[in-house]
């Protein structure tokens, strides 16, 4: 395999939400939703982003697309630095990078027809004539497995799964190269989840798309991702190829997460030991010093409490990169 080229490069991304208090609305602190995240997304891959609720996955996705103001950091998209560029310039870039949303109900404007919704990116970016747009919308409907005759209907006439397909068609309309999918299946019935994931996977192959796939369902992430990043409290804890992260996790947090997932292989399933995480996730307004995971980590030492572990590549030469942010990863491996 040739060296993959980078489509999206995120460097030291920070998103802090100020907390105001009192009559004078003084800022008393900040929720550090994303606090120094760096990773690359290669052309044509699916990068899975996992982690517990509230660890900053959605905020990361929104920040990459400049839908959330950054506190700091750089975002490089296809060779161009887009962090903090002005909105009118950013709007022109948006045809190349789209988003699929979690909630199939609130993500479609109830007053617009399906044709209006899917065709909007085309009219916003002035692609084609009205006639060509109408044809493209029908083509997109067919592509996501819906009847092109639905074009004049309204969202409330559709089921959750169908609506999610409409959202996918909207994201595909301008032929983007990059799509952030923020938990695109977690609001759907289990029976429909697999269909939608397969659709996303097919579309990726067909159009050479690159995905940032945010989820907390680990088995789904394992199924669809090429590489996986594990987040905890606003930081990336581990990042590597799917097989590395799932089969030989290096970070104690990743191990704890994975140990909660049942395995299909009965032998392995019997051998599986659940690592119960002690305590709650600390508040992102006041994250623990040193390693953020230390209050809940069974291997924590003095060093862990004092020093923030850097994200280090532990793979040997020639093997796929395997990044981990733990002082003791080698010893635990």
């Amino acid at each position: 395999m040739s060296t993959p080229s980078t489509l999206v490069q995120v460097t030291d991304l920070k998103v802090h939400f100020p907390i105001y208090q009192g009559v004078f609305r003084r800022q008393v602190g900040a929720i550090k939703a994303v606090d120094g995240v760096s990773f690359s997304i290669y052309k044509g891959e699916t990068l899975g982003l996992v982690g517990e609720s509230g660890c900053g996955k959605s905020t990361t996705g929104l920040a990459i697309l400049q839908l959330q103001a950054l506190t700091g950091g750089q975002i490089n998209f296809n060779g161009q630095d887009i962090a903090g560029i002005d909105e009118s310039q950013m709007r022109k870039m948006r045809r190349h990078m789209m988003m699929i949303f979690q909630d199939p109900y609130s993500s479609l404007n109830p007053r617009m027809t399906i044709g209006g919704i899917i065709g909007e990116p085309l009219s916003v970016h002035q692609i084609g004539t009205p006639q060509e747009r109408a044809e493209r919308v029908q083509e997109l409907l067919r592509l996501v497995g819906l009847n092109p005759a639905f074009i004049n209907r309204y969202p409330h006439e559709f089921s959750g799964g169908q609506r999610q397909r409409i959202g996918i068609a909207r994201a595909l309309a301008t032929n983007p190269s990059f799509i952030v999918a923020d938990e695109p299946i977690s609001a759907l019935d289990v029976s429909i989840q697999a269909q939608v994931v397969n659709l996303l996977d097919d579309l990726k192959k067909q159009f050479g798309l690159t995905y940032l796939f945010i989820a907390h369902d680990l088995s789904m992430v394992r199924y669809i991702s090429d590489r996986v990043a594990v987040m905890y409290l606003g930081k990336v804890m581990e990042l590597g190829s799917r097989n590395n992260v799932f089969d030989s996790p290096l970070h104690p947090y990743t191990r704890a997460l994975l140990s909660a997932v049942p395995v299909a292989n009965p032998k392995k399933e019997r051998a599986r030991q659940r690592i119960i995480l002690e305590g709650d996730v600390p508040s992102p307004a006041n994250p623990p010093a040193g390693c953020r995971f230390h209050p809940r980590c069974a291997f924590a030492t003095q060093e862990c409490r004092a020093q923030v572990p850097e994200l280090r590549n532990l793979s040997t030469q020639g093997k796929p990169e395997h990044w981990v942010a733990c002082h003791h990863a080698e010893k635990l491996a």
Partner: protein
């Protein structure tokens, strides 16, 4: 391709409005209200041809006559036919209601959209203004303005409109703020829709049903306000009849007790119009419920 599009047009399903209309038709009280309103509007518009009398010409030979075949609802203190006056009064009272609710809606929508869309300092200033107008002792203002400019139909419209917009402004602002956090707004931003278009293409259409309902109830309020103002002599000045100033003629005890034909008709008209508009409002609220679109 054109043939498929032609085919698609044929199976075009009903619009959101025709669905809402169907839901409205199921609402019996609203239908009743709508029919009553239709009759009231018709009789108001057709008033000059429905009775042979003038609403203002006095007839001193026929003072306070009880209903007869000639004067079906009797006559008032200066001999004018009550039926004629009550129908003509409908023109004035309903127009005052309509015009003042339009003023109120216009001001309310502009201020509400500005506050909800721009946010920040603009929002804060506009909302303080709204609170101020809402807590104004309205009677004091009305008396002052009426004393300064003299009562007139136009002043009544203006005063009512300028005192009732805050509830619409608040409603619109609240809707903007809550709709702004919906994912479809983030989705619109994500595909590159401009802020301006987000406000007017994505958010505003979703506020129209609540605004429609609010305007309907606002109309009832305006009619009642006109009646109170005119009753106090601060609204529509005589001899032009309005339901409110017709009631004003019935302030003495012996008229109240002995001559119900003088005050009952305008009283009934006020009650009937306010009630039926409120029924229509209830029906619209159910028919336009945004949850029906989820």
């Amino acid at each position: 391709m054109t043939t498929t599009i032609a085919k698609l047009e044929k199976i075009r399903p009903e619009s959101l409005w025709s669905k809402a209309w169907k839901r409205f038709l199921r609402h019996k009280l609203a239908l009743f209200g709508l029919s009553v309103m239709a009759v009231l509007l018709f009789t108001a518009i057709a008033a000059p041809v429905l009775t042979p009398y003038s609403p203002i010409k006095q007839d001193l030979r026929n003072l306070r006559k009880a209903p007869t075949a000639e004067h079906m609802l009797g006559t008032d203190g200066v001999g004018r036919d009550i039926l004629t006056r009550v129908l003509h009064a409908g023109r004035i009272s309903l127009s005052v209601g309509l015009v003042s609710v339009s003023i109120s809606a216009l001001v309310g929508i502009v201020i509400g959209v500005a506050a909800g869309y721009v946010g920040g300092k603009t929002d804060m200033l506009l909302m303080r203004l709204t609170d101020m107008v809402m807590t104004f002792p309205s009677l004091v203002i009305i008396i002052t303005v009426a004393a300064a400019t003299g009562p007139s139909v136009y002043n009544a419209m203006l005063i009512i409109g300028l005192l009732t917009w805050p509830s619409i402004a608040r409603l619109v602002r609240g809707q903007f703020l809550s709709l702004r956090t919906q994912q479809f707004v983030t989705a619109a931003r994500s595909i590159g829709v401009s802020n301006w278009e987000i406000a007017f293409k994505h958010i505003f259409p979703n506020t129209i049903s609540s605004i429609t309902v609010a305007i309907t109830f606002g109309m009832a309020t305006s009619i009642l306000m006109e009646a109170s103002l005119s009753f106090l002599g601060l609204g529509v000045p005589p001899p032009t009849p309005s339901w409110g100033n017709m009631l004003r003629d019935a302030q003495s005890m012996n008229i109240l007790e002995g001559m119900p034909w003088i005050w009952l008709p305008p009283g009934i008209m006020i009650a009937l119009s306010v009630l039926s508009i409120n029924f229509i409002g209830d029906g619209l609220r159910d028919a336009l419920d945004p949850r029906s679109l989820l």
